[in-house]
Structure formats: C-alpha cells, structure tokens
C-alpha cells in the first residue's frame, strides 16, 4: 500500500523515494550476499511545527528511518531535503549545521548520559562544542529551569539521577542549542506511568514554547494520541497510514493498524486468574 502523503505547505524535512538495504552476514565465505530491504521508495514530508508520532512493530524500519532523518546514516538511493536544501550528499559542514538544527532525545537516558559527568557538563557540552555565542552557564540554568530541574542538580553526576531526572537532562541537552526540530526515540519506554505522563506534558510544553516540531518514535500509542496531532504507522518498511492521529484512532484503514490498536494493554475490569 502506498503511503498517503500528509499535505504540508512548507515541509521542513522531506524524504523523496528513499531506499535502504542491509547486507546480512554470510553463512559461509562463498555464500551469496543476502540483502534485507529495510525500506524502499519511501517518501515523507514533515512540517516545521508538526508533532508527529511514528509507531510500528519491532523491526519494521522505524529506527533505520530515524537514523536517516538524524543524518547518522545515508540512504542507498533517494534524496533527503531540509528546508529545500539537499542534505545527502552534503559537506561535513552542512551536516554539522543540520545536526544543530535537529536534535535527538534518546530512548534510554541512563545509558546515553556519561555516568561520571555532572548535569552541568552534560548540558553545557553541546554549547561548548558548537561555539555558543552567549553566556554558557546562564543558558544551562535557563534550559534546566525549562525542563523543571533545580540548578542544585548542576553538580550531580548522571549516574546518581533517577530515571525521570535523567530523561529531563537528556531533553535539556537537546534544547540547549535551540534546535528547530526534535527527534525522540521512545523517550518514555523505560519509565513508569506517572513519569511518562510528566515527560509527555514536558515535551508538549517545550515544543509549544519554543515553536519546535517533534517526531517521536513510540510503542505507546496512547502517548502518541495525547501528544501528536499526526500519526505515521510503519509496517515492513512502508508507511501504511499517515493521517491525523484522532482519525487513525477512530477509523484505522490498514488491518495492521487495527491489530496494533487492539493489542494496546489496558487495565482489565476483571483480572485473569
């Protein structure tokens, strides 16, 4: 099924006919190289201020698509545009500038934050690295306040943070250099439900306050329903649904989307014995 492109007037990010394959290891040295199609001829337009959820089963190509969008990987064929400028092939300088504009929030903050570094060092890192013009430490305090963290945490090491605090630090680090777009890879999957609700509210608040767009890969469809106005459903390397979240939830077109919605765990009225 071909993806129905969501119409946006000025796409911030645009993928056109992007394909990516993966060579599998050979069973023995003379065996032919087996190639696994991650996705082929995929096209997608993303608006500057859109909040988009990307859902799908494990192995459907979500993470590979994320790597292309983060310019961490190059497609085998097809073009990637940012603000109408082709990203690949591109110079190291243009990719560096792109990575400043598009920031990443990881899935597991506990393993993505260096445990021996203090919160201050972590949030100030990108500012120092990219040559921030203003006063670095006042900017660090500003973003920490924005994500609801007290500046008394500045000297605390990442290894001593709770799960929710670590995810807030990861969000503060992404916000520090004032990006135009955030890409989050399952930002709440390792957190319990009360913390998930807090991080969802935080993401909603920071994207609204800063006028940023957000693409969030998630397994939690109810979280996407609460945060994202547009939902992409991926299956076997294809975007099988691309519509307003509420429309997809009310009337899923694809059988796989219906399966996903029916599998959402819920609190039962009677508990299985």
């Amino acid at each position: 099924m071909s993806p129905s492109l969501h119409l946006v007037t000025e796409p911030f990010l645009h993928l056109h006919n992007v394909s990516r394959h993966l060579s599998l290891p050979r069973a023995f040295w003379r065996a032919p190289v087996e190639r696994n199609v991650l996705f082929s001829h995929l096209s997608l337009s993303i608006g500057r201020h859109e909040r988009i959820g990307l859902v799908g089963t494990s192995g459907c190509g979500k993470s590979s698509l994320l790597k292309i969008l983060l310019a961490m990987d190059a497609p085998d064929s097809g073009e990637v545009f940012c603000d109408g400028v082709q990203l690949r092939p591109g110079s190291a300088r243009s990719l560096r500038e792109y990575r400043r504009r598009v920031q990443y929030i990881p899935q597991d903050p506990a393993s993505s934050l260096p445990p021996g570094h203090t919160v201050g060092q972590i949030v100030a890192g990108p500012l120092k690295h990219l040559g921030y013009n203003g006063e670095i430490w006042s900017r660090v305090r500003e973003v920490l306040a924005q994500v609801g963290l007290n500046e008394t945490l500045l000297q605390r090491k990442a290894g001593a943070l709770s799960g929710g605090q670590a995810q807030r630090v990861a969000i503060a680090r992404a916000l520090a250099i004032s990006p135009e777009f955030l890409i989050a890879d399952e930002p709440v999957s390792g957190l319990d439900l009360p913390l998930r609700a807090q991080i969802r509210q935080l993401l909603q608040q920071v994207t609204q306050q800063n006028g940023m767009g957000l693409l969030m890969v998630t397994h939690d469809i109810s979280m996407a329903a609460g945060l994202c106005e547009r939902l992409l459903v991926m299956h076997a390397g294809q975007i099988i649904e691309d519509r307003a979240t509420q429309d997809i939830l009310r009337l899923p077109h694809h059988p796989h989307t219906r399966q996903l919605l029916q599998a959402i765990p819920h609190l039962p009225l009677t508990v299985n014995g």
Partner: protein, 283 residues
C-alpha cells in the same frame, strides 16, 4: 508505611498439618528480611514476600526503586561489591548470596532478562546456542520447544545470529530456553520493556504458558502489562515494599500514595473509551 509485608500463608497456619501437606504448602520462593547495601548505601530494606507454585506475582515500582536489584539477588547475580543480609529460600534451599553455579539444583532459578540482545551470544548462530544449551535434545524436541513460543521455522533460525532477529523473537527464544530449565521458579526482569504492543502481547501469552507449572516473579514498571498476567502484586518504592495485594484489589483500592498515582496514571493513559471502543479495544 508498611516496611515488612508477608502476604502468603504464615508459618503459624501450617501448625497441625502433616509433614507431607506442609511440604506441599511450602513456598517455591520465600524472601525474608532481605536488605542490601551498595558502597555503604542501603538500597533494599527489609523486603519479605513468598510465592507458591502456580502463582504469578509482579513486582512493580519506578526505575531505581530496587526491583531489578531484588530480582538479581534472588537469581544469584547481584552487582559486585554488595552486602546482603536476610534470607532467600528457593524450594526450601537457602540461596542468599550464592552464585547460581554453587547452588544445588533445587535452588536454581530460571531467568528471563530485560535485554535479550545481551542475553544471547552475539557471535554464535542460534542453532549452535540451542545445541549448547540443550545438548541431549533431539531436533524434534527443539522444534516443539520453539513452536511453543511461535518460532517454529528451525532451518530459518538456526543459521541466523541474534542480531538478525527482532526484539520480540529474541525475547521469545530466551523464554523458550528458560522453559527448558527444570527450575520451579521463573524470574522475568522487565521482559516486555521496549517491545511493541503486538510483540508484548505475544510475550505475555508465552509467559503465561511458561508459568503454568512453576511460580513466576514478574518485574515490571508497567502496571497495564502486569495486570494482563499476574494475580498478585507487590509494590516497591525507594527500596521498600510498600504494598502487597491481589491485582484486582490493587487496581480497585490502591492503598499507598505511590500505588494510587500508578493506577491513576494507568487510567489516564488509556485511550479515551469512545475511541477505544471504536477500535475494538475492550475497556
């Protein structure tokens, strides 16, 4: 705050029973006053609970509350440098502080880890790993074992490396291997975290099947998944057991403030009932 909870049958209830009956009532897992320090800091404080054969019990709590540390202490793989006090009895055998290899057969625990990619050897094909784990099993037995968890296509899987399987396939393989263990206790440490809802559902089904003949301790922070699988719930906060109740009671009448927040958040996170019913999701 409840600091010391014993929810199972107490020893006083066993008075007057015959030795045989008492043995039948003996819990598969009995944790008494478990306390654990890391670098002088108390991380688990006076945790006590019991699980009997055929029971499915979940240990709920926020990240960092000590639930995985409790599970690792039970399985005999706590982090290095810990100081442990208290008692852990598996099938009546005292195993507290004992590494799995020095435990007697009855005291060993089947384990399913959170991260299936590190639970399997990344440099060995799955066929070789299965043969290594089950040297005496014939092909038919291995096929039946894999079919039980929905991985029936042996020729396809045997030549593959763990990295070439999806997260759900790897996790189901780990559960299949745990099911081959003769242990009567299965400890699963967040086996459904980071899995999509479809895979999560299939893993929960497989876990239910795996725990039919054994006791299950299911560690999770997701109360909605725990509610699908477990009959009883233990809730931990800051290294202490703060609530213990049947799952139905926990969902309808949570007592501790953390449990109340947890149940409230789960209800709020659910899809609006109007949309959910349109999707065919039962609420």
């Amino acid at each position: 705050m409840l600091s010391h909870i014993k929810w199972s049958m107490t020893m006083s209830g066993l008075k007057g029973m015959t030795a045989e009956k008492a043995k039948k009532c003996e819990p598969v897992l009995a944790v008494e006053g478990l306390t654990l320090w890391i670098a002088g800091e108390k991380r688990i404080s006076d945790v006590s609970f019991r699980i009997h054969a055929g029971e499915r019990v979940c240990l709920l709590g926020a990240s960092g509350c000590g639930k995985s540390l409790t599970a690792k202490t039970i399985t005999g793989t706590p982090p290095p440098g810990v100081r442990i006090s208290g008692s852990i009895r598996v099938n009546g055998v005292e195993v507290c502080g004992k590494h799995p290899v020095v435990r007697p057969q009855a005291g060993r625990v089947a384990t399913v880890f959170q991260d299936s990619s590190t639970a399997l050897n990344p440099l060995m094909t799955l066929g070789k790993q299965l043969r290594l784990a089950l040297p005496a099993a014939c092909d038919g037995e291995i096929t039946a074992m894999l079919e039980a968890v929905g991985l029936g296509d042996i020729p396809r899987f045997a030549a593959r490396y763990p990295a070439e399987l999806s997260g759900g396939q790897r996790q189901r393989l780990c559960i299949a291997l745990a099911m081959q263990s003769s242990s009567s206790l299965l400890v699963a440490d967040e086996p459904t975290t980071a899995l999509d809802v479809l895979t999560q559902q299939s893993v929960v089904d497989v876990m239910r099947k795996a725990s039919e003949a054994r006791a299950l301790l299911f560690i999770t922070h997701d109360i909605t998944v725990a509610a699908q699988l477990c009959q009883h719930a233990l809730v931990m906060e800051n290294g202490r057991l703060v609530e213990s109740a049947s799952m139905a009671q926990l969902l309808s009448q949570p007592q501790h403030p953390y449990t109340q927040r947890l149940v409230q958040a789960a209800k709020q996170a659910a899809l609006p009932s109007q949309i959910a019913s349109l999707c065919g999701v039962a609420v």
